[in-house]
Structures are given as structure tokens and as C-alpha cells.
Symmetry: C2
Subunit: 199 residues, 2 copies
DNA sequence: TTACCTTGTTAGTAAGTACTTACATTTGCT
DNA sequence: AGCAAATGTAAGTACTTACTAACAAGGTAA
């Protein structure tokens, strides 16, 4: 019984392949046969690790939650200038999304059909980001450097801008858009936002 | 042969039901049997009107393009104050999205699997909106009332904010969010944007 | 060696899928 | 009434799906 090396790597291979195929073909489109073949294992092995396709799906998205990627994300934001802090938050946000691109695709595609589980994970991530930014806005209000506005709404609009950018570039694969690098986009978006919220 | 009343309504019933079920269960999840039953027709009737499920899918999304809803959208924007013009564009944008909610769901869910057709329709809509707003920014630049910024990027960020709001409220069905009515959101978002782009 | 654990192979099941064929029934127009 | 188009009913085809049962093969630990 050796459960640390080979066994675990078989399981992980299946999970990785499942993530890729679920994201490419959807839950119904990705068959257990195909997942097993691409993972290089027999189909029956897949069912020995995961009792059903639905279990595999759940464990796949659980294994790719966003929250670990959030830890220690915004360390020294408080002592940075306002604009730089926002730029850093935006960049980190885009980085996480890029890292979890496949998971984002799955969630967008299957959100309607499997609401409970997916909404929970997705919203936990968004809420964490929005709350962090909103409370940062609150602090800045206290310091008197910002004009009055609804901090939660502002945080939502901030991430909304960047999520739409990510969506256009990475999910919709816009080839006909002239390509604009992330840095310039961050600068322009943050610029609008900084001027829009300062006194 | 009477093709205007009954015949057309049978076809339309199928198309309407297909839109609803494709949006709720996805392309693979919605079966032709179910679509026919919910439309109140025999399955074979469905195949007499649409030679294949894929044809039905294409005609469904073609019948629900965004562009007709865009016609005559922004009539008197040029003679409105800047902030009111932006608010009106935002409201119209949100209205169209709400009208085509099912289509948006389908596109988000099936974008990965059927890229060609869907991307075309989706992007045609977004490009139309972005270009309209960007050229409006260009005119305002000419008049000297706005600071210098990238008009296309700004337009994208503007719609990105509102699309994310729509997504959170209507697609993800956020119940745990405190509900904020559209008007207040439009006001807050536009406010940030106006201050962020004025001189 | 012996025992165990994990995997592969092969074959199979029961159910569901898109789609078809043949024939009967309804419906509206002339 | 009579014709023709649109629809319904019933049966069936060929295929795919998630999932299982039975047995053999390999490696690891005692």
C-alpha cells in the first residue's frame, strides 16, 4: 500500500484532465471515457477513484477554488499611494483569473445548471475581493482623501471593469480586437477610477 | 395552405421553447424530445421544421440577435449634458441585456464549444456599443470638455462595469447581495466615470 | 514466498440520444 | 365535398452514455 506517490498522482492526473476537458467541452460534453483516455488510465480506474461523474466534477472544482490564491495577496497596500495600490489590486486580480482560467470557464458555462456548488465558490471569491477593496475605500474615506461614494458599489464596478477585460481577452479570445497589453489597460482603467473617486 | 397563422406559430412556439430550454439546460442538456413536449408539438414536427438539432440551435440564436434592439437606441445623445448622456447609454445597455437575458446565458454557456457563430453575434453587439460610445468620446474630445484618454479602452471599461453588474444581478442571481436598484447603480457608476474622464 | 493493493482488459447492461419511416388524423381553402 | 398541407402516433434504428462484474497482471511490504 503506497498512497503517496503513484496513487495520488493517478488521482491528480485524472483531476487535471477533468479540469481541462470540463472547461473545454462542458460537463455533459466531456465523457468519462475521454477523460480517462486523456489522463492515460483505464475508464474503470476513474470510477474506482470517483464513484460517479458528478463526484468527479465536484472534486474538480473544489480542488481549484480561488481562495488559496488570495492568501497574502495584498500585503503592503496601506502604505502605498492610492493609484499604485489600485493598480496592484487590479494586477493581482487579473493574475488570479489567468491562473484559474479553466475554472472560470467551467463556472460560466455550468452556472445555470449546477447553481448551488458553483455559485458558492465563485461568490466566495468575488465577495472576498469586493469586501477587501470596499474596506480599503472605507479607510481612505476616514483619512479624508476620497470623496463620498458607496464603497461596495465602487468596488464592484472596479472589479467589473477588469473582469470584462479578462473575459474579452482570455475567454472570448478576441482576435479582431487590436491587442492591448494588460499593463496599459490597468493604467487606463485605474486612471479613470482614481480621478473618479478622489476629492 | 395557410402559412401565416398556425404554421408560423408552430415554428415560433418551437423557437421560443428552444430558447428557454437551451438557456436553462445548455445545448447538450436540452433534448429535442423535451423541447417538443414543452412546445406542445410532436417531436417529429420539430424535425420537420428544423432538419437537425444544430440547425434549430443556430436559428434560435439568429432569431434573437441583439442588433435590432440597438436600432434607434441613442437618438438625442449629442445635445444632452455629458453625465445624462452616459446614464442614458447605460440604461439602454442594461435594458437590452435584460430583454435578451436568455440569449446572453446561452452565449456564456456555449461560447467555448461553438465559438464561430456565437462569437460573431456577441461581438457584433459589443463592438457596435463600444464603437458608438468611443466615437462619442472622440467628439467630446474635439469640443475640449474631456481630458485625454484612450476612447476605446474607456468605452470598454464603461460597458464592463455595467455588464458585470447585470451578470451579478440577473445571471448569477445573487440573493445574498443586498439588492441595489439599477438606477442607483447607474448613478454611482456614471458618477465615477464622469469625474474620471472630465478635465 | 505470501499477501495486499492498485491497475488494466474485456465484456456487458440499461438507459437515453438524435433522427427516421409509415400511416392515420386534423385542418383550412376552394 | 374534395384536396392538400400540416400535424400526430407508434415503432424502430444506430449510436453513445455512465457505470459494473470478473479476472488477470504488476509492484510493494512483511
Amino acid at each position: 500500500m503506497q498512497q503517496d506517490e503513484e496513487t495520488c498522482s493517478t488521482r491528480d492526473k485524472i483531476l487535471e484532465t477533468a479540469l481541462r476537458l470540463f472547461s473545454k467541452e462542458g460537463y455533459l460534453g466531456a465523457t468519462t471515457r475521454e477523460i480517462a483516455r486523456e489522463a492515460g488510465v483505464a475508464e474503470v480506474t476513474l470510477f474506482r477513484h470517483f464513484p460517479s461523474k458528478e463526484t468527479l466534477f465536484e472534486e474538480t472544482i473544489n480542488a481549484n477554488s480561488f481562495l488559496p490564491a488570495l492568501k497574502g495577496l495584498m500585503p503592503g497596500i496601506r502604505q502605498m499611494p492610492y493609484g499604485e495600490a489600485l493598480a496592484m489590486i487590479a494586477k493581482s486580480f487579473l493574475e488570479i483569473l489567468a491562473l484559474r482560467k479553466d475554472t472560470v470557464k467551467i463556472m460560466q458555462a455550468e452556472m445555470q445548471r449546477y447553481p448551488e456548488k458553483i455559485q458558492k465558490i465563485y461568490h466566495a471569491f468575488i465577495d472576498e475581493m469586493v469586501n477587501t477593496l470596499a474596506s480599503y475605500f472605507g479607510e481612505m474615506h476616514g483619512k479624508g482623501s476620497l470623496r463620498e461614494f458607496d464603497t461596495e458599489l465602487a468596488a464592484r464596478s472596479f472589479f467589473g471593469m477588469f473582469f470584462s477585460y479578462f473575459n474579452a481577452e482570455e475567454i472570448l479570445l478576441r482576435k479582431n480586437y487590436r491587442h492591448i497589453d494588460a499593463d496599459k489597460t490597468v493604467r487606463e482603467f485605474v486612471d479613470i477610477f482614481v480621478r473618479g473617486t478622489l476629492k
